[in-house]
Symmetry: C2
Subunit: 165 residues, 2 copies
């Protein structure tokens, strides 16, 4: 029943790779994707799996319930996902006291890299690493739920995401 | 990922009480209640709690995923239930090789008693106990999901359920 407060940014270039950990692959699908609640199933490359229920409309703060589940069950549940099963590799970077999660997408969203930082309160002001680009907190196009349900085949965004550097 | 095949009946009279176990109280709410999938949270009087995802449109056969969860978490989740949190006492009766579950409803559905028998296959023909009344398998009015979401305040049914005898 944790509250989830996070900020989300586009990632510019590849400099973040030098400070990131080895990363873990993630496959995730939405079994429920509604305006005010969602149920997500996620399998990790290291054998973990979880089921996550999020309830609440605001991006900055909502109720979240997460349960570890068996990976065989999780994989079976992914058959019932609505929309696309998203594929990404999640990396972590420690920066000035905050943990940044960097999601590098594969599949139909290949080329998209997003960084998120979780905050203890909305007043927290993390220092922004220099490989972090434009903030997209609250921009629904970068919501995994919207990305999974989107009918587009070229990606969630209408602008280029330079990955050089 | 079990398949759920069951038949449902109204219960006539009180004779079933003589063959039933002590029963356990159940409180349950729906966090998601859609046409083809539902997410139910249930707390039991004996301290257990579970989260159940059902996927599939047909009443006789659907995919069901159930997870034991912490009762404190489950109780918190009930705050987010859509519609009514149903209250009932569930009894079990063994009869001629089949286990019957009898749900005696409280709260706004007080007076309603439903019996269900789970089958290994749709070809199973359990002997019907004499305290079992009309079959309501597939009758949406007796679906817990419909009962929870119903706006009615007097009960799910348009006919009397005699509880004497």
């Amino acid at each position: 029943m944790a509250k989830e407060i996070e900020r989300k940014f586009l990632v510019s270039g590849k400099r973040w790779r030098h400070v990131a950990d080895a990363g873990v692959t993630i496959r995730q699908g939405y079994l429920v994707a509604m305006d005010d609640r969602s149920l997500r199933v996620r399998t990790y490359g290291d054998g973990r799996s979880c089921l996550t229920l999020k309830i609440g409309k605001t991006a900055l703060s909502r109720d979240e319930y997460e349960f570890d589940i068996d990976i065989g069950v999780a994989t079976d549940m992914l058959r019932h996902a609505v929309g696309t099963v998203l594929e990404k590799v999640r990396y972590e970077v420690e920066h000035e006291g905050f943990t940044w999660e960097i999601d590098e997408y594969g599949g139909r969203y290949s080329g998209l890299v997003i960084a998120e930082v979780e905050l203890d309160s909305e007043a927290d002001l993390p220092e922004i690493p220099d490989w972090v680009g434009r903030e997209v907190t609250g921009d629904d196009r970068y919501s995994n739920q919207v990305m999974a349900l989107s009918a587009a085949t070229t990606g969630p965004v209408d602008e280029p995401h330079p990955q050089s550097g």
